[in-house]
Symmetry: C2
Subunit: 244 residues, 2 copies
């Protein structure tokens, strides 16, 4: 099911108050790692899946991208994107990531930031992306880590005093829907195993170039001291792959 | 530190009673997956790191390997290997995996089954293995999964009634020594992140061919019904890589 959570007023309002929504890329703990892994954008045709406010689309233009297509299911998110992050040759399109259709080999780089855990079928999308990319083109994406999504509730396990004891993992091999609390709302995500992500890429015809489990760096921990527990378990996974 | 746990009499005796010690490859839940991922062994020169009883060395010979070098730190394990699994052109050598030294490009395939979580520095060993392999040579290994090793105790989290509530994860980004209970003994292992395993391979000059988190199949669950909880979290990780 393609859930359009970000068009629900309450959720949208909550999301708009998150540090990363207000502060942009520099307020996202994983950004320094993602940024370093991004391929050279100069003169490239870029597709951004689940572009949201368009921070990454704008960044691509700043880095010299020839053109950028930003896809998102949410009208509200794209309204903000068009108002605040419409620079250069960006084309924002409202549609579900699962519904994209492009001719073969029209993009040089496909990026996706924290969006692909909302889709059910990674293999299908991966095959599509492979066909839209030119030979040697890059696919780079961040997702919630399988360790983070497996249990479902996306919360620590606490003792009676409310201390965070550890991160619980369960149902790992049971891929599919998880209903997590996010910003006080029920949000539907799809747990996938690491095997699904990696072999999805390899079997679609990508070479894996790099995998990173980003962890908050010292600067980020200074700005957001409560993020110290983020070192106790991985929250995100970033993969950079290249079409053979 | 290079621990030689398997030469301690009590541990060795306990290990010898495990299903996989008595039944061999077919009694190891991950074997069907590892077997399927193994490259063609015909006429190949094979190195087995942490060969233990030599089950995999013997298998390599059965599959047509030209020669096999089996390395293990444990004298007792190799005694059994030499007595029970010395077929074809197998050369069993007693030494720590960290101490191996071979000329460049003398092996076509390097395998390692559930041994590399005992070594501290994966990058160093990975670079060595890369140099010992011929171009296009394969490195395939299974290790305990980072989800399995992170917390340290390698046990479920139980409620008061002794029910397994979930698998605890903590200290994920803190790589290094973990003292786990295994067969009633303290055993020293080294937790590594997934990033370390994957990027260790990629940065050493390997292409990643396949990653699998093996899960017990129906046949295994019929033979060992208590293994049902193995579907709740990954225990092993198997990686197949190829020298560029």
């Amino acid at each position: 099911m393609k859930e359009n959570k970000y068009d629900e007023t309450n959720f949208f309002n909550q999301y708009s108050k998150m540090p990363r929504s207000m502060g942009g890329l520099s307020a996202a703990g994983e950004w320094p790692v993602l940024k370093q892994m991004l391929p050279d954008m100069r003169n490239k045709r870029v597709l951004d899946l689940g572009c949201g406010y368009g921070w990454h689309c704008e960044y691509a233009v700043e880095q010299g991208a020839k053109s950028v297509v930003g896809v998102d299911i949410s009208e509200k998110m794209l309204e903000v994107a068009k108002k605040k992050h419409l620079v250069g040759n960006i084309d924002y399109r409202q549609m579900a990531m699962e519904d994209i259709e492009f001719p073969n080999e029209v993009f040089d780089i496909v990026i996706s930031s924290l969006a692909l855990h909302y889709i059910e079928d990674f293999h299908e999308l991966c095959n599509k992306i492979h066909s839209y990319l030119t030979d040697g083109g890059y696919f780079i994406f961040s997702v919630e880590h399988p360790i983070f999504t497996a249990y479902g509730e996306q919360d620590w396990y606490y003792d009676k005093e409310g201390n965070r004891l550890h991160w619980p993992v369960d149902r790992y091999f049971e891929e599919g829907v998880r209903k997590a609390k996010f910003l006080g709302e029920d949000v539907m995500k799809y747990h996938k195993t690491l095997t699904t992500y990696i072999n999805g890429l390899l079997h679609a015809g990508f070479d894996l170039c790099e995998l990173t489990e980003p962890k908050a760096n010292d600067d980020f921990l200074k700005a957001y001291p409560e993020a110290i527990d983020e070192l106790r378990r991985p929250m995100f996974l970033i993969l950079l792959a290249r079409k053979k």
